[in-house]
């Protein structure tokens, strides 16, 4: 029995949703992206690269808009531009904390370029809208496969450099002395981040990339005592937010990305509030 209205029988609801291929695609792509963003995001927060992640997604905007303009898959444009941007950013400055000016300059230029491409494209304005805010419900089966392949690549790459990346992120000077080329690891991570950003843009869009790439990891970092735990928490939060977001958006006429952003933001607030009360209790005692 097919029905578009919510019943309290969650299993039935899920079966209903699953009938639609666009919803299946959305869940599949969304899950892959959430896992990837959760893992990569943990290192983004650890390395204090959240501004770089934000900027990369803007660089991706120009790529996606350009791809639309010359009628190729926007995901391809995203990939090319984000990885180019990632490499350029790591070449610009070594230490993360003195990079924000250079990154900001590139970011502004790329957004401008994106605006030009969009205005040159005589098609639908919805294309621009979906790049900026994500259009996971419109994701095609072939893009799901594409997303899956890139997701696997990203996870495998992180797996290969996991310990070196962790060392370089937690304790750069000692890592260097222990023979880790922190420069190369940093460069490699920017490329990984670029790939992760490209697929995440499909779900939450250029402007809301923080929702999946930074907020879940930021929450995890405030809770986890071990890096592996932090990554697990970050992934779980990203996946749950994506699933719940998709589920709710099926029944309500509002964008999925809004729900995802709201869920992670709510969780972040809760964690901060709990911390605040704990601290106050300690002070009182």
């Amino acid at each position: 029995m097919l029905s578009n209205s919510f019943s309290w029988n969650i299993w039935l609801d899920i079966t209903n949703i699953w009938q639609y291929s666009f919803m299946r695609n959305a869940f599949e792509a969304g899950t892959i992206v959430a896992i990837v963003a959760g893992i990569v995001g943990y290192f983004v927060v650890l390395r204090k690269l959240s501004f770089a992640a934000h900027a990369l997604s803007h660089v991706g905007f120009a790529g996606a808009a350009g791809a639309v303009l010359i009628s190729i898959n926007p995901l391809v444009g995203l990939l090319i531009f984000t990885s180019g941007g990632g490499l350029a950013m790591s070449a610009l400055g070594r230490k993360a904390n003195n990079r924000d000016v250079q990154i900001g300059i590139v970011l502004a230029f790329m957004l401008g370029l994106g605006v030009l491409f969009i205005s040159l494209y005589k098609g639908y304005a919805t294309e621009a809208y979906s790049i900026l805010f994500g259009e996971i419900l419109g994701i095609s089966s072939s893009n799901v496969i594409f997303t899956f392949i890139i997701g696997i690549l990203v996870i495998l790459s992180i797996g290969v450099i996991y310990r070196k990346l962790l060392f370089a992120s937690m304790d750069e000077d000692v890592a260097e002395a222990k023979g880790i080329s922190t420069l190369k690891i940093g460069l490699l991570f920017m490329v990984i981040l670029a790939f992760a950003t490209a697929i995440a843009v499909q779900v939450v869009g250029v402007l809301l990339i923080f929702a999946l790439m930074v907020t879940p990891a930021a929450i995890a970092q405030r809770i986890a005592n071990k890096p592996s735990e932090g990554i697990a928490i970050s992934v779980i939060i990203a996946v749950i937010a994506t699933w719940v977001g998709l589920f709710v958006a099926y029944y309500l006429p509002y964008p999925v990305s809004f729900f995802i952003v709201s869920i992670v933001f709510g969780l972040y607030l809760i964690v901060r509030l709990i911390e605040f009360y704990k601290l106050r209790k300690q002070l009182v005692i």
């Binding site: 797996g159 937690m170 304790d171 000692v174 023979g179 970092q221």
Partner: protein
């Protein structure tokens, strides 16, 4: 005793400017060496050369009879005071573990994780910091963090310890405790220690020899031969006076850094 570090006519340059030149010294296993000199004299540069991160502009150096090698697991290194994110909830032990297997490729196996945990706890115990193992590093005091980083350097059972200003940011009492601890570990485990410091006085009871870098020159030898008015005046190429008090404490007057030595 075997030589663990042998330097011959070593010189260091930065952008074709000489930092220091003609450094020749030998360090034997288990020796405690103080590396002294004013700010910017190039003390950390010497460490970076020993670690294989910088190349000497001339001369050569061997470590355990081998050429200098980047990522030498026989060297434990504690760089100058690191900024630890106070908001991070990561346990201290996680930082110690990095010293053992952080340089490896791939993911750790369950067995490796077990070994890591065991050895990290042992290293923390060695520096008398096992009680901090499962506390967020950001919540520890400067002295406690310094012990954790010392454990990180010791976990791989190094033959050489390079410590860059471990006493900065510690009060005199904590500094004395830390130096005593480092010395006793080094004796027990037969580790050669090179320690960069501004003030020689807390080190006096423990040091075997010193290396003094100033005015692009390097002097090494016994404290009584190096920290003298005559030898330091020669090194700085300007009149320097060394004064000793009744307890044997040393004050060096006439250098730009005089206030660091005078207590």
């Amino acid at each position: 005793m075997e030589n663990v570090i042998v330097a011959n006519n070593l010189s260091a340059k930065y952008n074709s400017k000489i930092i220091w030149q003609n450094a020749s010294f030998e360090i034997k296993s288990g020796e405690f060496i103080g590396l002294l000199g004013p700010n910017g004299a190039g003390k950390t540069t010497l460490f970076r050369i020993l670690l294989g991160l910088n190349s000497p502009s001339s001369g050569d150096v061997t470590i355990l009879n081998k050429k200098v090698l980047k990522g030498n697991q026989n060297i434990g290194y504690v760089p100058q005071r690191r900024i630890v994110d106070v908001e991070s909830k990561l346990f201290s032990i996680e930082y110690v573990k990095l010293g053992l297997s952080g340089h490896k490729w791939g993911l750790p196996t369950p067995k490796e994780l077990q070994i890591e945990e065991k050895q990290a706890l042992a290293a923390l115990k060695l520096v008398d910091a096992d009680e901090f193992a499962y506390r967020p590093i950001g919540e520890l005091s400067g002295g406690e963090q310094q012990k954790v980083f010392l454990a990180q350097a010791l976990i791989g059972k190094p033959k050489i310890l390079l410590l860059d200003e471990p006493l900065s940011n510690l009060d005199i009492k904590r500094g004395n405790q830390l130096i005593k601890l480092i010395s006793s570990i080094a004796r027990k485990e037969n580790i050669a220690v090179m320690l960069i410091a501004h003030d020689i006085n807390p080190l006096l009871p423990y040091l075997d020899r010193i290396i003094y870098i100033a005015n692009h020159k390097v002097a090494s030898g016994e404290i009584n031969n190096i920290i003298t008015s005559q030898s330091l005046s020669k090194l700085y190429n300007s009149p320097v006076e060394v004064i000793k008090d009744s307890k044997g404490r040393i004050a060096v007057l006439g250098t730009e850094e005089a206030h660091h030595h005078a207590q």
